[in-house]
Symmetry: C2
Subunit: 264 residues, 2 copies
Amino acid sequence: MKESSNHKTPQEIRGEIRQGRLPGVTAGLAPGYTQANLVILPQEYAFDFLLFCQRNRKPCPLIEVLDPGQTEAVTSAPGSDIRTDLPSYRIYRDGSLEREVTDISEFWKDDLVSFLLGCSFTFEEALIRAGIPLRHIEQGTNVSMYITNIETASAGVFSGPMVVSMRPVHRSMVVKAVQVTSRYPDVHGAPVQIGDPQALGVRDLARPDYGDAVEIREDEVPVFWACGVTPQAVAEKSKPTLMITHSPGHMFLTDIINESIAAL
Amino acid sequence: MKESSNHKTPQEIRGEIRQGRLPGVTAGLAPGYTQANLVILPQEYAFDFLLFCQRNRKPCPLIEVLDPGQTEAVTSAPGSDIRTDLPSYRIYRDGSLEREVTDISEFWKDDLVSFLLGCSFTFEEALIRAGIPLRHIEQGTNVSMYITNIETASAGVFSGPMVVSMRPVHRSMVVKAVQVTSRYPDVHGAPVQIGDPQALGVRDLARPDYGDAVEIREDEVPVFWACGVTPQAVAEKSKPTLMITHSPGHMFLTDIINESIAAL
């Protein structure tokens, strides 16, 4: 299925997802196009959350914010429907996960504001293209993620620690990894730390807080990037009456070409 | 006065402005540090305006947004007071300029939200350092600004055309000008147009909508950048009950080092 989807446009793939024909994770779909994290909140939280994203651009790079009640991502994905075009959603009530669904139409209200945030798939594609292999992709596991001692800049009810993802990079390729990801500030950008988990308050790389552990070889350096789990973790902690997000790995496919959002 | 101010920190200069000892424009003060445009709006407009800035990052690059009622720019200028640290402010009521003042303490309310937006001083300094002279600075006039046919992406009550600034660049230096300003996305970034005023709906370069006209020599190309007048013009048009801005050229001095916000 995925093989044949590689030649389809993001719009076609969104259509297939809408019809329930692509129920899995979206990694590898529509290569070259930007995929996005989704956070939906009632309007009463929207200013604070938008401000939180503005103040924490590395973990929370905004791709598009929809008008209150709006269901089409008019700029990044014309013709889309945010309620049906992701393969899986999570519904949170008062900060607790209530259930996972494949369609949020029944939960929709006119005061909901949808935030699309950049996702690391874009810079991972660029790293691989630059000759930097990524172990978690080779092994078909989730990237390792850790809660750090870096406090985000709070905004209203939203505050909490930054979550980072870690990828082992061969010591000869660390500079290249910084250069490549620096080009993509809208999808987390340059690393936040190179080689020193202690400086982030991370004690044991073998025990990630989210995702799966990966081997770090002797000639490799752990490189840490700000992670899109941060806004979800922070929003969850503030216990909003309702919050809807994508399920991990089940992203929103935009029509944005990765290279078009590169910094230089 | 300005000569001696060149060796002072932004914090020291804000202190002098607060005491009324630096009443003029801030161009040339604290070279190497980022200066910012200011827009203050009541909280009822804050989500829409923040969303407008998010959707129009070239004309409206956000440096910092203060919490409702907050008067200190805690991130970009610790110890500052937004009510006293600019040499001149404009007070608008229902979209009309009411008056200019040097202190807005008497207008302050706990529901006001202050937006600091990037200003072209930063990239002009970089252009000059790269050997690209700027005529309006040499002649001591204001940069030429034009209302274009480019519609901004609207947000709530905020909408309107993009305003651009124009600088004549020698044809041999146009590529360099693009490269240099591309490094500063937080202060308007790369040009929006090169050499074709008609494409922007600008009919007569000799008659700018704001600022002063400058000569364009035969071996020069007019280069257009998104302009920080855009958010003010757009906000003014929506006729908010109250809006406070800096007076043209009388900017807010931050502690941010220009090079620290460069993209690469």
